[in-house]
């Protein structure tokens, strides 16, 4: 008997008398549990207000213009970076050494990576990166600074509302702030394997 058959015959025997015992609850019941961070309306201003509060409380940084972004990257000492080729570079190219190719042999030479976020979740201050909108997974992950470009219209209230944005993409990464650990003596350290600075550029 194959392993699959062995397992299925055992779990079928184990659950034979249990069918119909516990019903699958309606989704509406779960959706009714709303945290105090859920936006009060679907208006863009309200979503943006909630997103900013949650995003910054998870130690993410928020900018609203290219000038603001350039200023912030400069204060962080950034010189060289990766920019997703589908994003127009504008002033960034004149201020920094910018490449639209990410060379995996030199991951530590990039100070920042700029890529698109597919949507944002206002309640939790989360952005979603998916394969379709992120040509290079490493470029959005390996540099110390990651900048996610997020369109205001793509802000959703809750995770429930963002699920349809994921479509059938094989890789959905929900990001809530910079990479963290508390493994050594429970002390919070930022920037373990992923970015130590997580910026969202809201456009």
């Amino acid at each position: 008997m194959s392993a699959r058959d062995t397992i299925f015959s055992k779990i079928e025997a184990a659950t034979e008398s249990l069918a119909g015992k516990t019903a699958l609850p309606e989704l509406e019941k779960a959706k009714a549990f709303r945290s105090r961070f859920v936006p009060e309306s679907e208006a863009v201003e309200e979503l943006e207000r909630c997103f900013e509060r949650s995003w910054t409380s998870a130690q993410g940084k928020l900018v609203r213009s290219e000038a603001e972004l350039i200023e912030l990257l400069k204060t962080m000492g950034a010189k060289k970076g990766y920019l997703d080729s589908s994003l127009s570079s504008g002033d960034l190219t004149s201020e920094f050494e910018v490449s639209s190719l990410f060379d995996r042999e030199r991951v530590d030479e990039y100070d920042f990576g700029i890529s698109r976020a597919t949507c944002g979740i206002a309640e939790t201050g989360t952005i979603a990166l998916i394969d379709r909108d992120t040509p290079n997974r490493l470029g959005a992950l390996a540099p110390w600074i990651h900048v996610a470009v997020l369109e205001r219209e793509k802000l959703r209230a809750r995770l429930y509302d963002a699920l349809t944005d994921f479509q059938k993409d094989p890789s959905v990464v929900l990001v809530t702030g910079p990479s963290k650990t508390a493994d050594i003596e429970g002390l919070l350290i930022v920037g373990v394997h992923g970015p130590g600075e997580q910026i969202c550029w809201l456009v």
Binding site: T22, R137, A142, S179, T181, E185, V192
Partner: protein, 472 residues
């Protein structure tokens, strides 16, 4: 035969004070953080826990259907699905995939199930370079140690020990700065990701309808291994499935808050298949290995509720026994209250259930574990059921330190003997209590308590009088 000892008591008594304080402090902080976030953010977290438990209970009771659905969904997404009855089979499947891909190097994210099946030692024996990438797990690996907590694997170590390990392994200069230690690991491990052929992960959830696994990390190690490698292998227990993608937000509300007091863990990944065609980095193949390893037996048992567990660690953080004894005291991969139920059920080797039959007794049945459980597992009830099983199967380790009830049974079944016992009770009020210490369990009881004055023997008088029509 040598007298069996209650190993957890002994481990707790011999635990060095530094570790003991570290475990207790960290557990208390986590318990408070959980409470602060969950109860501040939601009006009725208890109702939410119960609902989350119900969804998982339903899934378990209909597991064949949901597992078959998950399998079909993964295949539709271009992932390969494998089945393993036990750890040996799972390990062999991993090695086989690696050989077919000519792969010799593997980077692994934190996963309790791969600890359970001892995957890394197996791969190393077969010439594979296998590296843990979670910071805590990596330190556990270079120290040849085991994680003592499912969320905080090195809760039992301090920064000096970590620094000495890094120095010994030639990974970095000695430093007692945790930030610098983390940077050293960052620099070292990213080289390993980029060299590796295979990224290995577990899964926090399996979404049956969409054919995705969900992985939750704070460090970003699972993300890195899935950006840098060409093959992704997942080993996941058959109990991790949930029916609908839309069930996920309910669990995300609970998981981070219960585990670390975070409203949302930093990275939540939904992975369903190999990378898209146009994607420059990432796995070309995805393999999902569903593992049984005792879970189908647990499903058939009276303790199937334990399979709802989403591995948040809240029950260990709050448990007075865990706080005193630390995780290694449980002699198994899963420590704490959940481990006291799950580990004996999943023990297939080395004597099986009997070898760990003392774990269900490592509880005062205070009930705190169930109160904090995000899926409302009735752990105290399950502990009692396993104690009963230990008794029914005459498991020697299940009877350690149980006081003898032989005398009591004789007295209780013979009215004359019982009456005499009552008279002796009065005699105890004048006799020295040291006499009682002849029996070891009485001695240990008395070492921390005073025997109250015997005031019994009046009930029969009262009852007889009542029978006679006198209501007093």
């Amino acid at each position: 035969m040598a007298k069996l000892e209650q190993s957890i008591d002994r481990y707790a008594a011999e635990l060095d004070p530094e570790t003991s304080f570290a475990v207790r402090d960290a557990s208390k902080i986590k318990t408070e953080q959980r409470f602060d976030t969950l109860w501040a953010d939601f009006e009725d977290p208890n109702a939410m826990r119960k609902l989350a438990g119900q969804v998982k209970q339903h899934t378990l009771e209909n597991l064949p259907r949901y597992l078959a659905q998950a399998e079909a969904s993964f295949q539709r997404n271009g992932a390969n699905v494998h089945w393993a009855v036990d750890g040996d089979e799972a390990n062999a499947i991993v090695l086989d995939i690696m050989r077919r891909r000519n792969a010799t190097k593997i980077v692994k994210s934190k996963s309790m199930v791969t600890e359970e099946i001892e995957l890394l030692p197996f791969l190393e024996e077969h010439g594979v370079e296998a590296i843990e990438t979670d910071l805590g797990e990596y330190i556990v690996q270079i120290d040849g140690d085991h994680p003592s907590h499912i969320i905080s694997p090195i809760i039992h170590k301090n920064r000096k020990q970590v620094a000495r390990s890094f120095e010994r392994e030639g990974i970095g200069e000695y430093t007692e700065d945790p930030e610098e230690l983390t940077r050293i690991a960052r620099r070292f491990l990213r080289k390993k990701y980029l060299e590796a052929d295979v990224g290995m992960t577990g899964a926090n959830f399996v979404l049956a309808d969409s054919g995705r696994i969900v992985i939750v990390t704070n460090e970003g190690n699972a993300r890195f291994s899935m950006a840098a490698t060409k093959t992704h292998i997942v080993v996941v227990g058959i109990e991790k499935v949930i029916p609908r993608e839309e069930d996920l937000p309910l669990y995300m509300n609970l998981l981070g808050r219960s585990a670390t007091g975070q409203a949302m863990t930093v990275y939540t990944q939904l992975i369903g298949g190999p990378k898209l065609e146009g994607q420059e980095e990432g796995p070309e193949e995805m393999h999902v290995i569903f593992l049984d390893n005792g879970r189908s037996d647990a499903l058939a048992s009276e303790c199937r509720e334990i399979l709802r567990c989403i591995r948040c660690g809240a029950c260990m953080n709050i448990c007075p026994v865990y706080r005193q004894a630390s995780g290694h005291a449980y002699r198994a991969i899963y420590p704490g209250p959940v481990g006291a139920v799950l580990s004996p059920l999943l023990a297939l080797k080395n004597g099986g259930f009997h070898q760990l039959a003392d774990l269900p007794k490592a509880s005062s049945l205070c009930g705190a574990c169930q109160e904090v459980c995000p899926v409302d597992i009735p752990i105290p009830d399950l502990l009692l059921r396993l104690r009963a099983r230990g008794k029914e199967e005459s498991a020697a380790r299940g009877a350690i330190d149980s006081p003898g009830f032989g005398m009591w049974a004789i007295a209780a079944s013979q009215p004359a003997a019982w009456k005499m016992g009552l008279a002796m009770g009065h005699a105890m009020n004048v006799a020295p209590h040291a006499w009682l210490n002849a029996h070891p369990s009485a001695k240990s009881w008395q070492s921390t308590r005073d025997l109250p004055k015997f005031r019994g023997g009046e009930f029969r008088k009262w009852l007889n009088a009542r029978k006679g029509g006198n209501e007093k």
